[in-house]
C-alpha cells in the first residue's frame, strides 16, 4: 500500500474515532493541589489547494494537499509561592509542529530540484531547538509591582490581522498566516525583563518597561515551494535545473545566516504607559530595537552574481548540478530604529454602543531597500525614512431579524471592521515596498486596507461561522469563510476556504493559494 494511502486511512480512522468518542471531561489539568496548571491544544491542519498551476503540479506535486501540519502548544503555570503579599510563578509554554506534506509527496522532496529546497526543508518542516520553547519565564508579583524574567511573548496591539504597534516579538510565518492562525502561535518568544507598576496617579497610570538584553531573532519567512512560500520556478529558465533552488531561497537563506543572534549590543527596550481619561482607555508607547526583517546591503548584487548566478551559469555550461555558495561577508542587516505610538479604546453609546479601538505609530529611521524604479531586481542600497501608520477598529454586535433568534439562540453577530493606513515620508520612487507585503502599490508612499471579521455562533454554539478577510484598493484581497463544529468540551472541527487574489503584478502575495482548510483541534 502506498504511503499516501496509509496516511489517508490513518486520518480517516482518527476522524471517526474522534467523532464517535466525544465525551465531556475536565479541561485544564491541575496537579499538586492546583499548584501546577496545564492546558494546551493539539492540532492537525490541512490545506488542500484548489488553485495551482498545472505546470507547478506536474513538476513539484503529487497531491494538492500541500500543507498538512501536526502541532501542539502546551502551557504550564507553576505556582511556586502563592500568598496574599507576594506570588512567584513560573510560566512555561512548549510547542511542536511537524509538516507532513513533504513526507507523503515525493516530488516536494526528491530529485535535483525538489518543490521544497532541501537546504531549508528540515529548518521549516519541524520544530527544533529554541522553537520548541515558546515561553519560559518567572513572574514575581508584589503590591503594585509585577516583574517577569525569561523568554516571553508580549502583545501591545489592539487590532486584528495586521500588527500596527504590536511589534515586540518577531513573527514566524513559515507555516502560519494571520487570520488563519492565532498571533501567539506565530510569534517568537524573546528573553526579556519586563516590569509593570500600578501607580496611584490620576488616570490610574500603569507603567510598563521591558528590556531585551540582545536576544535578537529575525522574522521567519516562508520557504519557497511550501504552501505559504513563493511558488517554485515552473518555467524552463536559463539556470534550472542546474541549481537546486531559486533566487528567493538563496536570499532568504543568506539573510537567515546573517541575522545577528544574541549580542548585548542588540539590546531592545520599550516603555508603555496605560491610562484612562475621558472614558477612553489609552496607551502611549516607545520602542527602540532592531528591525525584524532583513535589509539587503549594497554588496548584495555583486555577491549574488558571484555566488548564485555565476554558479548557475557554470551549471548551464557544464550541464551539471551546481551548489550555490554563501559568502562570509554580511549581505543583510537588521538596522536599529525607533517607534512611538499608542492605542485608545472606548465605547460610544451614541453609535449603537459600539467599541472603537485606535492604534497608531510613527517609526523613526525605518530602513528600506532601494532599487532603480523600486524594482527588487535592480536593488542598489538601503535608506532610512520616517513612517506613520494607524489602524482604526470598530466592533459591534447585531441581531439579524428572523435569523439570530431562530437559529442562533439569540446570540448576536459579532462584527469587527478595521481600516489601516500607512505613509512613508520623504518618499523616493526607488524605495522597494510593493513586494514587502505591506499593501503598497509600486512606487507609492501610502497604503490603505480594510480588514473584517464576522462571527456568528449557531445552535447554542455547537457551530460557529466566521468570515475573516481584507481588501486593499490595489486589488489585493484575502477571504476566509470558516465553519467550526464544537460538539463538546474538547474537540473542535473546522472547515474553511481561504482565498486570495491580487491584480497588482508586484504585490501578489498568496494570489494562487486558494485552498480548502480542514483543521481538527483538541483543547484541554
Amino acid at each position: 500500500m502506498k504511503r499516501k494511502d496509509i496516511f489517508l486511512i490513518f486520518m480517516l480512522f482518527a476522524f471517526l474515532l474522534c467523532t464517535a468518542g466525544v465525551k465531556p471531561a475536565r479541561a485544564e489539568v491541575r496537579l499538586a493541589d492546583d499548584k501546577i496548571i496545564l492546558n494546551g491544544t493539539i492540532k492537525q491542519t490541512m490545506l488542500f489547494r484548489t488553485q495551482m498551476q498545472q505546470e507547478e503540479y506536474n513538476r513539484y506535486h503529487k497531491t494538492h494537499l500541500d500543507y498538512n501540519r501536526f502541532s501542539y502548544v502546551i502551557e504550564g503555570l507553576f505556582k511556586i509561592k502563592d500568598c496574599p503579599e507576594e506570588q512567584l510563578n513560573l510560566f512555561v509554554g512548549t510547542k511542536y509542529w511537524y509538516e507532513l506534506a513533504p513526507v507523503y509527496d515525493p516530488k516536494m522532496r526528491k530529485g535535483p530540484n525538489p518543490g521544497v529546497p532541501s537546504i531549508q526543508r528540515n529548518w521549516y518542516a519541524r520544530a527544533k531547538d529554541r522553537d520548541l520553547l515558546s515561553e519560559a519565564y518567572f513572574d514575581y508579583l508584589r503590591g503594585p509591582f509585577d516583574l517577569r524574567i525569561g523568554q516571553q511573548i508580549v502583545v501591545w496591539g489592539e487590532t486584528d490581522i495586521k500588527r500596527t504597534v504590536d511589534i515586540i516579538n518577531p513573527i514566524d510565518v513559515r507555516l502560519g498566516s494571520p487570520g488563519i492562525d492565532q498571533w501567539e502561535e506565530i510569534k517568537l518568544g524573546l528573553f526579556m525583563l519586563r516590569g509593570t507598576y500600578q501607580s496611584q496617579l490620576p488616570g490610574n497610570l500603569l507603567f510598563e518597561l521591558l528590556y531585551i538584553p540582545g536576544d535578537f531573532r529575525p522574522a521567519r519567512l516562508p520557504v519557497d515551494g511550501t504552501h505559504y512560500g513563493a511558488n517554485p520556478v515552473v518555467t524552463q529558465s536559463v539556470f534550472y535545473p542546474y541549481v537546486p533552488y531559486g533566487v528567493t531561497t538563496w536570499q532568504f537563506e543568506k539573510a537567515r545566516r546573517d541575522a545577528p543572534g544574541w549580542e548585548l549590543k542588540n539590546y531592545e527596550y520599550g516603555l508603555r504607559v496605560r491610562g484612562f481619561t475621558w472614558d477612553i482607555d489609552w496607551t502611549l508607547l516607545y520602542y527602540d530595537g532592531l528591525y525584524d526583517a532583513p535589509i539587503a546591503t549594497s554588496d548584495l548584487p555583486q555577491a549574488f552574481l558571484d555566488n548564485y548566478l555565476g554558479v548557475a551559469l557554470k551549471g548551464q555550461v557544464t550541464q551539471t548540478l551546481q551548489q550555490p555558495t554563501f559568502p562570509s561577508q554580511k549581505l543583510f542587516v537588521y538596522p536599529r530604529y525607533r517607534m512611538i505610538g499608542g492605542t485608545a479604546q472606548t465605547v460610544i453609546p451614541a453609535l449603537h454602543n459600539s467599541v472603537w479601538r485606535l492604534e497608531y505609530f510613527y517609526n523613526f529611521d525605518e530602513p528600506y531597500n532601494v532599487g532603480t524604479d523600486g524594482s527588487n531586481s535592480a536593488l542598489y542600497d538601503w535608506v532610512r525614512r520616517g513612517c506613520f501608520g494607524m489602524g482604526l477598529n470598530y466592533s459591534d454586535k447585531f441581531k439579524i431579524p428572523g435569523f439570530t433568534h431562530r437559529f442562533c439562540d439569540d446570540k448576536m453577530m459579532d462584527v469587527s471592521l478595521t481600516f489601516f493606513y500607512e505613509r512613508v515620508f520623504d518618499w523616493n520612487d526607488d524605495i522597494i515596498i510593493a513586494e514587502s507585503g505591506r499593501g503598497h502599490r509600486g512606487q507609492t508612499a501610502s497604503a490603505h486596507e480594510i480588514a473584517w471579521n464576522v462571527q456568528q455562533f449557531i445552535f447554542h454554539q455547537t457551530f460557529m461561522f466566521m468570515f475573516t478577510g481584507s481588501y486593499n484598493p490595489i486589488g489585493k484581497y484575502f477571504l476566509a469563510p470558516i465553519v467550526a463544529y464544537v460538539p463538546g468540551n474538547h474537540w473542535r472541527w473546522e472547515l474553511g476556504f481561504p482565498t486570495y487574489g491580487s491584480s497588482e503584478r508586484t504585490n501578489k502575495g498568496l494570489h494562487d493559494k486558494d485552498s480548502v482548510l480542514f483543521r481538527m483541534r483538541y483543547e484541554f
Binding site: 465531556p24 479541561a27 509585577d146 501567539e184 500600578q198 482607555d281 454602543n353 447554542h460 454554539q461 468540551n489
Partner: protein
Amino acid sequence: MRVRKSNTILRLLRVSLIVFAISILAVPVMVSAEQLNFPLKAYTDEELTKVREWEKTWAGKKIDKSNVGQIKEYLLESYAGVYAKPEVWFEPEGFWFTIAPYTRKIETKGMIEATNKYHTQVKTDANSEVIQNYPDIAGMPFPNPDLSDPKKGGNQIAWNYDFNTHGDAYHWLRTGPSLTVQNHTERVSSQDMYELYYVSRVDVDPKPNLLKDNTKGIRRGYFIHLFKPPEFINTRMFNLRYLDMTKSDDGYMWYSQFRRIRRISTAQRTDSIDGSDLIYDDEFLWDGHIIRNTYKYIGRKELLCARHQDIKQLQRTSGHAMPNGINRERLNTLVVEVTSKDKNYIYKKRVWYVDPETYYIQWTEIYDQLDRFWKCFENWTNPEKLESTGEMKSVICGTQMMDFQRIHCGISIQECKGVGLTQVDQNMFTISNLQKGGY
C-alpha cells in the same frame, strides 16, 4: 354633692385628656411598629398550620413522574411537565426531587438594622417608581410593600430584590454545563466569581458605604476568572455597575487567546451568553437596573422552591437535562409581572416568583416577543455562614435554565467559597489586575 360630682367629672376629663394626649403621641409609634413587619414571614400562623399538615404527607417524599401529578399545583406548569414527561427532555428514566419541610429564613442582623434605620428615609420620585437617594440607603427600602396597589407593590418588591446585596462580598465557583439533551452532550464552563458591593452594605464593615469617597459612583464590582471551556482558560474579566442608573456598566476582559485587555460593550445585555440559555440580564434571574422595567404585583403563588439546597446532594449525569435530588419546600411566593420599557426587548415579559423572606427570585417564567411561553429558570438558594458575623445568609447556589421552545437547557452549580468576605481586594476590579494575571 354637686361639687364632688363636678370634681369627679373634672378628674375624669383630665384623665381622659391625658390618655388622649398619650394616645395621640403613641399611636404613630404603635402603628409604625405594627407596619414594619420585618423580617417577613412567608406564612401567617394559620397558613403555616395548613402547610405543616400537608407536609405530614409529603415531606421527605421522592417526587418523580409517578406522583408528580399529585403535587403539580405547587410546581409551575412547565416544570411539572418536565417531571411528568421526561422523554420530551430525552430522559426516559425520568427525573426526581424530594420535598422538604418549609423552613423560615430570617435576614441577618445587619439587614434588619439597616432596614429599620433607612426605610423611613427612602425618597422616591413623584410616581413612586424610582428611589432618588439610592446611594444613601441600605437594607430593604420597602420592608412592607404595599400590595394593595399592583404597580406600587410590584415596584417595591423589585427594589427590595435590588437591595439584597448577597452578603456584601460573595465568592463562588460556578460550574455551568450548557446541554444539548438530544445527544446528551454538554459544554461546560467553569469560572471563579467575585461580587463586591460598594454601597448599600449591611453585613460587612464599613457599612453602608465601602469608600468614604466613591467618586466614580460604583455600586457593584463583579470579577470572573474562567477555567473552562479550554479556549477561555485564564480569561478574566470585571464589570463595574454604577449608581447612575442611566449609565451602562464598564467591562474589561483579558482574553487569554489574544493576550489583550479589551474593553467590552456591556450595553448589549440581551446577547446570549456563550451558548447558554441566559442573556446577560438573566444573571441572578435579573441583573440590571430596576428602572429598566415596569412591575406589576399580581398576587401570591405557593410553589415548591429549592431554598435549602446542598449542592453536594445533587445527582447529575453528564449531558442530562436536570440534576436529581433537588430539595424543594413550599413557599408562598410574591408574583410580579415584569415588562421591559424597551419595546424591542427580547422578552415580552418575565414573571418573577419572589421569596418574601429574602427577596431572591426563586422562579422566573419568560415569554417571547409574541407572548408565547419560552423559558423557565429556577434559582436554588442555601444559607451560608457569613465570614463577617458568623450568621447565616441565604445565597444563590445554583440555577436551572430551561428553554421550552428549543428543548435546550443549562445548569449553573455554584459552590460557595465565602460570603460576607471581609478581605476582598478592590484592585481586583482594575486593569492592572487583569494584566498581572495574564498568561
